[in-house]
Amino acid sequence: DDKITIGVSYPTPTHAWAAGMNWHAEQAEKRLEALYPDVDLVLVNSPDPGAQASAIEDLVSVNQIDALVVLPFESEPLTDPVLNVKKTGALITVVDRGLSQPGIEDIYVAGNNPELGRVSAQYMKTRLKEGDNIVVLRGIPTLIDNERFDAFMAEIEGSGINVLDHKHANWNRDDGFEVMQDFLSRFPDIDAVWAQDDDIAIGVVAALKQAGRDGDGMFVVGGAGMKETIKSIMDGDELIPVDVLYPPSMIATAMDVTVNAFKSNGPVAGRYILGATLITPENAADFYFPDSPF
């Protein structure tokens, strides 16, 4: 039959950002399937790289997809499975995390992880002076976390700002809370916190408030663009003055572009890199989507 089947594969949402991504994917599926009756989008999510490889195999063997939109759990392990899909002649769109081998994907849509770290550090430098202390709460040990962290540290380097310590808080509120509690017990003088992620930031703020150390111009920088965070930036919160964008809607963008590749006449292949914009009270309104779960 002449129906266009497009598989969309991404990790099972286990935190808010991914849930936002999932929400955007589902919205895009509904929108695109309504718009083009001959397009069928099949969304699958997987809890680990192996399962994602299996799911991609199943998309080929069962759904016989014409195109694959994939947000790889990790780059390396999924390179081969995606390459196999490529060999069936399907169009490949890769989202967010690049594959480890160039040239497999026809379309690439991504956020910018090093940029996120760099922008965060640049903001720190504008607010802090030499000799000020910050602590860093990192995500789950992964390439993404490394890219963000390394870029952040490179940017901070030489500014005279002390990074007292960095611990993994796994993009998780509970861990953010506990790690921050311990940082607070350990370091009497902290001027700012880079939490890297809005979920961690929520835990950090709770710990700060509990310890009563949320005054004195202390501030927290998260990341990703959670709607609650953006709202509080709009409201002029002192504790979380800014946020760095890492849009979960990138999957929808990728789906749009992929469908377009079948529907439009012009060439759509290429790379679409979304910026890591610094969200401040001035521009926050532009990034505020109250209906999204994230």
Binding site: T12, P13, T14, H15, A16, A18, A19, G20, N22, W23, R138, P141, D165, H166, K167, H168, N170, N172, R173, D174, F177, E178, V179, Q181, D182, F183, L184, S185, R186, D199, I202, G203, A206, Q210, A211, E228, P293, F294
Partner: protein
């Protein structure tokens, strides 16, 4: 897994026994000394309070797990159960805000809801294990998956957050202190005492031990084995519900990552405390120390940057093994022949 208790002579058992009882306490003491020597802030009031409060979650759940394990069962679903209870509790409370307002009534409704869910979930585990005659491991592995995916479903993969105004009402349950101790610690203390009495001083506790030792003997001794076993899961569910009630006000949210691996932590606390995994011998006191040990390990690792972050798990694993080895090994006597 209870190999150390088999085939030993009485004498060695008696001597071991004391060590077994003291073992977890000594391990905790050593940890505290290490923590203090790394950073004297370890023994600051604030840190001790944090430590105790954090232990409360795992500790309360582990008290329930002590009953299940003593009676020869196992419950892998507790972490997911906590997550789903927290999720439903938040949904219920958020919905009740319109009718009941943001006062204590809504919070009480949420707590009641949590207790009912805990009892119900525990009962389901118990029922499937006893009447369904399915291995506890399978039943609770299954419900673990079910609960976990339900909370993901309710939260749409993201996070369920408590109504902001309600959070103000509920917050003190986690953050306020009462006679110098945070409320979660009080709950932990009360649950521990109640658990200790129940296990060591009541017929129910005796029955749990008997069932874990030898189910046939228990049946021939007029013990309603299925009923008692079901009760252990119900108690476990209740403990999870209580832990959830003090967990929710902390950050006011629940997500699919809430309570991940709590089951392993709870079981580890129980076993570190000296309870025998195959059943028949349970120690609430040990369980509490086990929970404190586990929390302290995490706390200490946050207090030092000597160790690569990536190796936290290695340290944790090593410390757990060494802590248990310290209490299991035969000190001061030649090891019994294989």
């Amino acid at each position: 897994m209870a190999e150390t208790t088999a085939g030993e002579t009485k004498n060695s058992r008696l001597r071991n026994f004391d060590f077994k009882t003291m073992g977890p306490a000594i391990a905790l003491l050593i940890l505290c000394i290490i923590g203090f020597s790394l950073n004297s802030a370890f023994l600051s009031e604030g840190n001790i309070t944090n430590l105790l409060t954090r232990s409360a979650f795992i500790g309360i759940i582990a008290v329930g797990a002590t009953f299940v394990i003593t009676a020869g069962g196992i419950d892998l679903s507790v972490g997911s159960m906590a997550a789903v209870i927290a999720g439903i509790m938040i949904i219920v409370m958020n919905n009740a805000v319109e009718t009941l307002g943001t006062g204590v009534a809504t919070v009480l409704l949420g707590c009641g809801c949590s207790v009912i869910l805990g009892l119900g979930a525990g009962w389901v585990n118990g029922f499937l294990t006893t009447k369904g005659k399915i291995e506890a491991f399978i039943v609770t592995l299954g419900t673990m998956g079910i609960f976990r995916s339900l909370v993901t479903y309710f939260a749409d993969g993201g996070t369920l957050s408590l109504d902001f105004d309600l959070r103000g009402t509920y917050r003190p349950v986690y953050y306020e202190a009462f006679f110098g101790l945070p409320i979660p610690v009080w709950v932990f203390i009360i649950v521990s005492i109640a658990g200790w009495i129940l296990l060591n001083r009541t017929a129910f506790g005796r029955y749990c031990t008997a069932i874990g030792s030898n189910e046939a003997v228990a049946r021939y001794s007029a013990i309603k084995v299925d009923r008692i076993k079901t009760w252990t899961y119900v108690i476990q569910g209740l403990c999870v519900a209580l832990a959830t009630i003090i967990y929710v006000p902390r950050l006011g949210s629940a997500s699919s990552s809430t309570g991940v691996l709590w089951e392993l932590e709870a079981i580890a606390a129980v076993i570190i405390g000296g309870t025998v995994l195959k059943g028949g011998y349970g120690r609430i006191g040990g369980t509490i120390l086990g929970a404190l040990i586990l929390t302290t390990i995490g706390n200490i690792l946050n207090f030092t940057d000597m160790i690569s972050n990536y190796l936290n798990g290695t340290m944790q694993g090593l410390i757990i093994i060494v802590a248990v080895w310290l209490q299991r090994a035969d000190w001061g006597r030649k090891s019994s022949k294989e």
